[in-house]
Symmetry: C2
Subunit: 324 residues, 2 copies
């Protein structure tokens, strides 16, 4: 039986952990003590598309972890650095799949382990109803492929995909996972940025291009700009992000960055529009719109700690106005 480490148990990590616990020895590495305690005591329950209950091991202490055959990093992109610094040494003899949004997590993972890094992009989704209960929603696949700079053998990628498929989730092994990753990157960067700045969830506005002022035009231009950067990077997209957006716009679901800004949590923008902006700069192609989104979100994050004279803490009293 293979030994698997799931790094981070949000909705996506919980789905991997629960399913893989049916076919492997699963350890969940989490950050909160009470999260680990609850998982060890109660196990993990899946509802929705699948319905079952499993037991697994969980810990917050890297020194308790054994060596693993497979790791799946399922934290937010912003937490990969901290987590891998703690668990990288336990994954040195295994294969480590990155399941983050956006671009750049594989490089961080690789810097912290001598293990075989696998580029991953997941299209499944779930809702976490508590530390020991996750609802399986979209049962779409996780696409995985070699991390090119490390020349990860394809046979290892195939083996990891087989394990995930055996667990009841869907995975596809690819010779090149970048076309899938970039499709989701461009879609994600565009809708997350616009959503976080406007406060709109995935909504019909995102595909509306009837008036000049409609935000659907901006989404379309952001996606086209992302496609041009992908082309400059030599990546042929697997799916058209505009088609993904048209489907998304019918869900009224708040994307993760909207969730983050509503709670004033650090966003993944460095790995989304920030990554597109940096890639564009590296490749010498323009990306003014993703660069603007990047800087606006960074400004928004800065606003949470900046105190101005009239910031409405409780109720605004004066009806101050300026002429700007």
């Amino acid at each position: 039986m293979k030994r698997v480490c799931i790094v981070g148990c949000g909705a996506i990590g919980s789905l991997y952990a629960a399913h893989l616990a049916r076919v492997a020895e699963v350890w969940a590495f989490v950050r909160r003590e009470d999260h680990a305690r609850a998982l060890n005591a109660e196990g993990l329950r899946v509802t929705g598309k699948h319905n079952f209950q499993v037991s697994l091991k969980a810990t917050t202490r890297p020194d308790e972890l054994p060596q693993f055959d497979v790791g799946i990093v399922a934290t937010k992109a912003t937490q990969v650095e901290d987590c891998m610094a703690m668990v990288g040494s336990r994954l040195e003899r295994g294969a480590i799949i990155s399941a983050q949004n956006g671009l750049g997590s594989e490089e961080i993972i690789a810097a912290h382990t001598r293990g075989q890094v696998i580029r991953g992009t997941t299209f499944m989704s779930g809702t976490k109803h508590g530390d020991t209960h996750v609802q399986y929603e979209l049962d779409t696949a996780t696409w995985i492929g070699p991390f090119e700079p490390r020349h990860t053998p394809y046979a290892l990628v195939k083996e990891a995909a087989d394990l995930i498929n055996a667990s009841g989730l869907k995975a596809e092994a690819l010779q090149d996972a970048r076309p899938a990753q970039w499709s989701k990157l461009i879609f994600n960067a565009s809708v997350n940025g616009v959503s976080a700045l406007t406060g709109l969830p995935h909504s019909p506005h995102f595909a509306d291009e009837s008036q000049f002022s409609d935000v659907g035009h901006l989404l379309h231009e952001l996606i086209n700009e992302g496609k041009r950067v992908a082309a400059a990077a030599g990546v042929e997209l697997q799916e058209d992000p505009w088609e993904m957006n048209k489907i998304g716009s019918m869900t009224n679901h708040p994307p993760s960055m909207l969730y983050d800004v509503r709670r004033q949590l650090l966003t993944e923008v460095d790995f989304l529009s920030g990554a597109i902006a940096h890639e564009a700069q590296r490749l010498g192609v323009p990306a003014p719109l993703h660069t603007a989104l990047y800087r606006l979100i960074k400004g928004k994050e800065a606003s949470w700690t900046f105190e101005d004279e009239n910031k409405p803490v409780a109720q605004q009293k004066a009806t101050g106005e300026s002429n700007t």
Copy 2:
């Protein structure tokens, strides 16, 4: 003694009304009954740069208004249409100064009156502490000039400037008021849009260009884009909006659009980035950044009435996450 109508008594309108009441018969046209009652009963008090108390007439009923020699429209740009539809007929024999932010108010005023329209831009500022008390802060001038499409005689502009100067405020009559208006437009559109989207007031971030991700870069690019549109429109700027921004960034003052979005009030974006975007389209020059800002703010306004599944009305319960 000249008879003057001040349309709208926010901070700017109150400053005009109070000062002009010292040298003219002033009527304030306001929308709230209690506002008119308070002004009629208590008059208007000015503190700050100037200190005095005046009485004046105020009403919410257009049919109570006489004919005027001079009108100053001091509402928000978004309210000019409604107000002018009510009072336009009382200004037909006079000169009407537009004191709105941005571009486009003069055209709306002209559509509702046969009076002589004067293009105006004010750089003064104040804080309204209540319906009958305004604090005079920046004692900078109001720049006025002819509204070109109506060939307003310069002599009338000069006369209006003399009246404002006699009242104790500062005004300057110009042969062409567009260089002043566009300088403020470009500054205002850029800082208001970025402020409303990030939640940052005028702050040091707006002039910070040290890191790639700094929002100061975006402000600089928005201002440069605005300058290119002004040049295409044949307008030579009076002041450099980037220099205005560098000064503004030291004030930590929330600009009006941040004030509006914090209270979910309709913004002036149609007259700011929206006006630059439309002018750029008309002139056949690109303005991708102001167009993006325009669409983002329009999306933000739409979000206030759009109900998504997880909108935090009171407290969020589920810790739902999606993979986008």
